[in-house]
Amino acid sequence: MIARRQFLSAAALGAGALFVAPGLALATVPTDRRFVFIIQRGAADGLDILRPTGDPAFSSLRTSLVGDGDAGTRLDGMFTLHPSLVEVGKMYGQGQALFVHAVASPYRDRSHFDGQNVLETGGLQPYAMRDGWLNRLVALMPRLSGEAIAIAATVPTALRGSIEVASFAPSALPHAADDLMTRVGALYDADPQLHPAWAAALETKGLANDVGAGQDPASLGRLTASFLTKPNGPRIAMLETLGWDTHSAQKGRLANQLKGLDAMLAAMRDGLGLQWANTTVLIATEFGRTVAVNGTGGTDHGTGSVATLVGGAVRGGRVIADWPGLAPSMLYQARDLRPTSALDALIAGVAAEGLALDPERVGRSLFSQATGGRPMAGFIRT
């Protein structure tokens, strides 16, 4: 039996020269920059992640969630980081983390699935656009296979579109026999739906050979880093995180969620090593949660939330917020944090600067339906 690595390369070459010859690959990698998008599905509570402790209305509204234990990292006179985000707090101290508060996509209703669709497609309305903004971003990069990868069994909406991208999730199953793999490849070759997915599967499998399989947040962070550091590997990655829909018992649940996120980001930083300096990680959610705590120790679907940037490339150590205030008269529909920054303008600016592309062009391609609202600027070290 031939070595798996060789077999896969040979098979991929047969299927249309998808592997770039290693020597050539180093020369033709189009960018040193890395961009990672982490979606928080379920509406993460920005007011609990980055607490506006300097707002006079905050403590009376949120006493039951904040408690009086570990206070978290105080970032400035206004904002305090949730105590679970220890590593992110360190990144902030080193100028590698930045927050944009009171931010929201154009979506103003409160359905998770519609909200996530707007966040991922970049449309103004749910289902107004078919492909995802991250896929359109990949399309703006110089062409090379394996430029983007979803760390998930299937490709999320943000990464779906005209450019085929790979997906990968750790598996504990025994590998399939080479004969079976070859014949499957031959059959899928002629199938327009299965061929690109299979080609991506083989390529990703090859790249992931030497990574331990684990599905905990830190392992997923390490796995992402291992893809992003391969000489001919992807430069754009997306991870999905679930479990942010804290309708009840938010105090304990959010603390655990954020501990996981913190570990994932730290593992990614450590795994990227020197490449961390070229990396931008964006973390965002579909909408925020109610300012008031509900009757079950949780919060319900809201509007404004927080978006987080970490990475060695980020010009961090700052919180960007045109703070609307939490006084009753300032709330959106008398219940939610009023959004004062546009998430699409933030994404366009971060993606463009993070990958050294032209912000105007990125804005037009990613959010063509947006009216006005130039990409935000100044996120990345130059």
């Binding site: 997906s167 598996s171 079976l180 070759d189 299979w198 009840s248 009757g295 319900d300």
Partner: protein
């Protein structure tokens, strides 16, 4: 290599698109449409595997009783031993719950393999996903099998309204969507504990309107959601509360008047008087008869049987049938079966992991799962049974399931499913039986040239022909 355009016979469509996949002993004869309708009388509502499941409520209740006893002991002794006991108790409970969950998944798969009514069985899976719970915590995990058995199966050939009522009132749903914690802010129960602020949780109200009945963007407002949430207060599970409330039977839902928000409610312009449990019940029944609900359900059915982009004519016809029959599900199924759109002769749906596993096992001739661990298998395939992770349920479009990694998993699992059969089954003979009229020359050719009989079977299971229906 050229691909022959597949041309599925009506029998193949009845077996693979409407049913759960052909079995080696399936014989195509007679009128396939008629045969699908005939299945209605052969459906087994409560198969042995489901009937034998332990009561989830009893499991949960035992744990809670033990927990309370532990707490009492801990207060008396102030001892550290008690903490260790509690931890052990929690572990025992988790093991019990997971054993119950695995048994329920085995029962579901057994039923799908043994059934004489695979189309109706498919509809159980469809409705279970429509009114889904997600086993994200131990309590929902305990109740998930009972939910499908008691809230879905008995109504799959009944009316949509009855199924909706059974689903929303089931302990699994009331726990999953936080209804058990929702209390009217001005109710006697809230007044009793002024220091411990408890109140409304609008999760169930919103998901009933958005996902189970009317559908998103169908014209209701945030105010309607909140009003409906107020109407729903008092709906809870018996036997899970503290004190006297903990004495009931945790397998049944209950209405506690003391938690119910007083006053009449106005939802979607209609006034519902203060009638206790009937207030939200009437509103829910009204939702099930609204045109938005008919269209919502019709769209999902059309997507499931006629392709990822539901044909508008079919949606309109199904919605009309739903409205005219007042949600009589057999009438709607008959409209579906009589419509031309689901009988397109090319494969139009990419199988979900569950559909693929069940059709693979049926195709390999299994009549029961035996010691195959279906729960673990589904997790590896990326579709843990009863755990969609969100109240919208699993997606029903190809892009959600045809990702590169998902394909690789199916190949690995196909090899594992085929291995025990060794040389016992000849894929060259089996494939044309299971895929009548749709087995491509290329697939037949690659199967014939495989290095081993088991390899050929595995290849059949992951061939483009078998991955679709």
């Amino acid at each position: 290599m050229s691909v022959q355009p597949a041309s599925l016979s009506p029998s193949a469509i009845a077996l693979n698109r409407f049913g759960l996949g052909a079995r080696p002993d399936d014989v195509a004869s007679g009128d396939p449409r008629r045969q699908l309708v005939d299945q209605f009388s052969r459906f087994d509502v409560r198969p042995a595997g489901f009937a034998a499941l332990d009561d989830a409520g009893t499991v949960v209740q035992h744990y809670r009783t033990a927990q309370q006893a532990d707490r009492r002991t801990a207060r008396q002794d102030g001892a550290t031993d008690a903490k260790a006991d509690r931890t052990a108790g929690r572990q025992d409970f988790r093991q019990d719950v997971h054993a119950l969950y695995r048994a329920a998944v085995q029962a579901r798969a057994d039923s799908a393999l043994a059934t004489q009514a695979p189309f109706v069985e498919r509809m159980v899976h469809f409705w279970s996903n429509h009114f889904c719970v997600s086993v994200d915590n131990a309590q929902v995990t305990a109740f998930a099998g009972a939910f499908e058995r008691d809230a879905i199966r008995p109504y799959v050939l009944g009316s949509f309204s009855d199924m909706a009522l059974a689903a929303e009132r089931h302990p699994a749903m009331l726990i999953y969507l936080n209804q058990v914690q929702s209390i009217g802010p001005d109710s006697p129960a809230a007044a009793r504990n002024p220091d411990r602020k408890r109140g409304l949780n609008e999760n169930l109200a919103r998901e009933i309107m958005e996902l189970h009945t009317l559908g998103v963007r169908s014209g209701y407002s945030q105010a309607d959601v909140t009003e409906f949430a107020r109407a729903l207060t008092g709906w809870t599970v018996d036997g899970l509360g503290t004190g006297g409330a903990g004495l009931g039977n945790a397998d049944v839902s209950a209405f506690r008047p003391a938690r119910h928000e007083p006053g009449a409610r106005t939802i979607l312009g209609k006034r519902y008087p203060q009638d206790g449990v009937a207030q939200a019940r009437m509103a829910l029944i009204d939702f099930t008869y609204m045109p938005a609900t008919a269209t919502h359900i019709a769209t999902k059915l059309a997507r499931h049987f006629a392709g990822d982009k539901p044909p508008p004519a079919l949606v309109a016809r199904l919605a009309d049938s739903f409205t005219k029959s007042r949600g009589d599900l057999p009438a709607v199924y008959q409209t579906l079966i009589r419509s031309p759109e689901p009988w397109v002769a090319t494969p139009i749906k990419f199988k979900t992991p569950w559909e693929w596993t069940i059709s693979s096992l049926r195709g390999l001739g299994h009549k029961q799962v035996g010691d195959m661990q279906i729960a673990a298998l589904q997790t590896q395939l990326g579709q843990t049974v009863w755990k969609p992770g969100e109240p919208a349920g699993w997606d029903d479009v190809a892009t959600s399931w045809s990702g590169s990694d998902a394909l690789l998993r199916r190949v690995e699992i196909a090899q594992r499913l085929a291995a025990p059969l060794g040389t016992g089954v000849d894929a060259r003979l089996l494939a044309p039986k299971l895929l009548p009229g749709m087995l491509s020359e290329a697939t037949a050719d690659q199967i014939a040239r495989s290095e081993s009989p088991a390899g050929a079977l595995a290849l059949m299971l992951v061939s483009p022909d078998f991955l679709r229906r």
